[in-house]
C-alpha cells in the first residue's frame, strides 16, 4: 500500500549536518518533498516534509528517524493566536524557527505573521498563557 504523509522533523544540533534525508531515499525507498526548512548549523533544524512510498517502508523510516534522535510530529493544519489571550510578553519569539512571531519595535507588541508560520507547533506549550492554538 502506498501512502503520503506530511510531517515535521526536528533535528537536534548533533544531527543537523548528518545525511538523514538521503538515507530515507536510499535505505527506505521513499520519495520526499521539502515543504519548509529552517536549519542553522550547530543549532536545531526543522524540516517540514511530505514523505511518500510503501506504508511498510514509511513506518520503518519513522522508526529509524526516532531511533536516530529526530523528533517526528504530524503536521498540524493551522496554528492561530487567540488575540484576546495573548499578553504580548514575547516568550514565544525565540521558540519560532521561522520568525513568524516577532517583537514589533514600534508598538512593543508581538506580531504573529501568519503567512510565515509553518504550523510546526513549537510555540504552543511554551506560551505561558497558552494563546497559540492548534486549529484542526
Amino acid at each position: 500500500m502506498n501512502i503520503a504523509r506530511k510531517i515535521v522533523l526536528r533535528f537536534p544540533p548533533r544531527l543537523v549536518d548528518q545525511p538523514i534525508i538521503y538515507r530515507l531515499v536510499k535505505d527506505y525507498d521513499l520519495q520526499f518533498n521539502i515543504l519548509k526548512a529552517s536549519i542553522t548549523p550547530n543549532e536545531e533544524g526543522i524540516l517540514v516534509v511530505e514523505l511518500s512510498g510503501k506504508k511498510k517502508d514509511y513506518d520503518e523510516a519513522i522508526r529509524f528517524l526516532a531511533g536516530a534522535g529526530v523528533e517526528v510530529q504530524a503536521l498540524i493544519k493551522d496554528v492561530a493566536r487567540l488575540e484576546d489571550r495573548c499578553t504580548h510578553c514575547g516568550a514565544c519569539v525565540t521558540m519560532c524557527p521561522v520568525g513568524a512571531l516577532v517583537v514589533n519595535t514600534q508598538t512593543r507588541q508581538v506580531d504573529f505573521l501568519e503567512s510565515k508560520c509553518i504550523a510546526c507547533g513549537l510555540c504552543i506549550k511554551p506560551c505561558p498563557v497558552r494563546a497559540m492554538e492548534v486549529r484542526l
Binding site: 510578553c89 516568550a91 511554551p126 505561558p128
Partner: protein, 404 residues
C-alpha cells in the same frame, strides 16, 4: 523644590495634577532639565505585568446550612486544593496550586494546564467555580461535605494577597547544557540557544524608586486592574545587593507584598499561566505611582533601560546547584534589542514580562490620577532599605534524629 503628598493630592482632586509615565519622564527631563521637570511634574506612573508565583487570594465562603467547619478539612476550587488552616469558612488559594491528579512532570515536560492562578482568573471574570469541601464534623459544625457553585458575588470577602510581587530586577536565564531545559524562566534551548528575562526595565515600579524613598507600607497602587495597597515588603526583599551609582540594583533586590479587593479587579490583569515542565502560576499587573516630592525623586524616575543591568545565569547548572557564578551583566536596552552576546555568541532574547502591557498599566494609572479618581497615600512605614542590614539567607541542611 519640595512638595508634599497632601499638596499633590489637592492638585489631583482639582484635576490639575501633571502626571506622566516613567517612560515619558525620561525625555521630558532630558529636554527641560531635572529641576524644571521636578517642578512641573507631580506624579510619575510605573507598571509591570509578569508571572508572579507568590500570589494568591483568600476567601470567606459564607456558612452552609447546616454549618460546616472547612477549617482543618479540605477544600477544592475547580479541583485545585486551597489551604484550610483557618477558621470555619476562610480559605486561601495559591497561584501555583494544582489539582491532586495533575500528572506534574511524570511525563517530562509536564503541561500544567490549570492551577490556582487560572481559578482566580475565572473568578475575576465573574464565572461560577465548583467548591468541593470535606470535614470531620463537630457539635457546632456537623456537616461533613459540601459541593456547590460559588462566584465572587456569592461569597463574603475575596482578597488578592500576594506575598512577593514586583521583583526589583531579575536574572537573565540561559542554558549552557546540551539539552533543552524547562524552567520558570521559560523553555531554554541548549548551547545558549536563547536567553529569557522578566522585568519591564525602565517602567518597572521599584527601578523608579530604587532606594524605596516614596514606596512604602500603605502605598496605594494599581493591582490586577483595580486598586490595592503595598502591605509589607515582599518575601526575599533583599536591599543589600550591588547597585549602580544611581542606586539601581544590579541583582534581584527589593520586592513588594500587595493586597487588594479581588471583587474590583479584572481578568485582563490577572491571568492564569502555565510554564511547561515547571508548573502553574499567575501573571499579575501592578502599577505604582511615584509622587515627585523633590528633584532627587524625579531623578530616580528618569532611569532608562541602558542604565539598568541584570546578571546572566546558567539555569542548567549554576542556578539549580545554588552556585553564585554569573556569565556577565547586560543592560535592558540590549536585552530589548532582541539579541545579546554571551561567551562570544549571539543569543536571541525573549521576555516573559509584557512591556506593552506595562505601558498600558502606566497609562491607565495616569488617567485615573489625572481624572481625580485616584489619590495618593502617604506610606505609614518605609520599606527596609540598604541600611536595614537585611540579607538573603539560604537554607542549610541540618539533619535531625528521627524518632520512631
Amino acid at each position: 523644590m519640595t512638595k508634599t503628598i497632601a499638596e499633590i493630592n489637592e492638585k489631583i482632586a482639582k484635576g490639575q495634577a501633571v502626571v506622566v509615565t516613567a517612560e515619558e519622564v525620561i525625555d521630558i527631563a532630558k529636554k527641560k532639565g531635572v529641576a524644571r521637570a521636578a517642578q512641573e511634574i507631580d506624579v510619575v506612573t510605573t507598571g509591570t505585568f509578569g508571572p508572579m508565583c507568590s500570589s494568591g487570594a483568600y476567601f470567606n465562603l459564607g456558612h452552609a446550612k447546616p454549618r460546616m467547619k472547612i477549617g482543618g478539612g479540605t477544600a477544592y476550587l475547580n479541583n485545585v486544593p486551597a489551604y484550610t488552616g483557618f477558621a470555619a469558612v476562610d480559605i486561601f488559594l495559591g497561584a501555583t496550586a494544582m489539582p491532586d491528579d495533575d500528572p506534574r512532570n511524570k511525563i517530562h515536560p509536564g503541561d500544567f494546564p490549570y492551577g490556582g492562578g487560572h481559578v482566580i482568573e475565572e473568578l475575576v471574570a465573574g464565572k461560577d467555580v465548583r467548591l468541593v469541601a470535606t470535614s470531620y464534623g463537630t457539635d457546632c459544625y456537623p456537616r461533613r461535605k459540601v459541593e456547590t457553585l460559588i462566584n465572587l458575588k456569592s461569597i463574603n470577602e475575596a482578597v488578592l494577597f500576594n506575598v512577593r510581587n514586583a521583583y526589583q530586577n531579575y536574572n537573565i536565564a540561559v542554558n549552557l547544557s546540551d539539552r533543552t531545559i524547562y524552567t520558570y524562566m521559560g523553555v531554554l534551548k541548549p548551547h545558549l540557544g536563547n536567553a529569557t528575562y522578566s522585568t519591564a526595565g525602565q517602567l518597572s515600579p521599584l527601578f523608579n524608586d530604587p532606594l524605596y524613598k516614596t514606596i512604602g507600607i500603605g502605598t496605594k497602587i494599581f493591582l490586577g486592574g483595580g486598586t490595592g495597597y503595598v502591605a509589607w515588603q515582599g518575601t526575599q526583599h533583599n536591599p543589600n545587593v550591588v547597585r549602580t551609582d544611581k542606586g539601581v540594583p544590579k541583582r534581584g533586590a527589593g520586592t513588594l507584598a500587595v493586597i487588594g479587593d479581588l471583587k474590583q479587579m479584572k481578568p485582563r490583569w490577572l491571568v492564569g499561566t502555565s510554564f511547561i515542565g515547571y508548573g502553574c502560576t499567575m501573571t499579575v499587573g501592578i502599577g505604582v505611582p511615584i509622587p515627585i516630592l523633590s528633584e532627587e525623586i524625579l531623578m530616580y524616575t528618569t532611569v532608562k533601560d541602558e542604565e539598568i543591568f541584570a546578571p546572566i545565569v546558567d539555569y542548567s547548572d549554576a542556578y539549580p546547584q545554588r552556585r553564585p557564578d554569573i556569565l556577565g551583566e547586560i543592560d535592558y536596552a540590549q536585552l530589548k534589542s532582541g539579541k545579546i552576546k554571551v561567551q562570544g555568541k549571539d543569543v536571541p532574547t525573549a521576555s516573559l514580562s509584557s512591556y506593552a502591557r506595562a505601558v498600558e498599566i502606566s497609562n491607565i494609572l495616569k488617567d485615573w490620577i489625572k481624572k481625580g479618581e485616584f489619590l495618593l497615600t502617604q506610606p505609614v512605614a518605609p520599606l527596609p532599605g540598604p541600611e536595614s542590614g537585611i540579607t538573603f539567607k539560604p537554607m542549610p541542611d541540618r539533619p535531625f534524629e528521627k524518632i520512631d
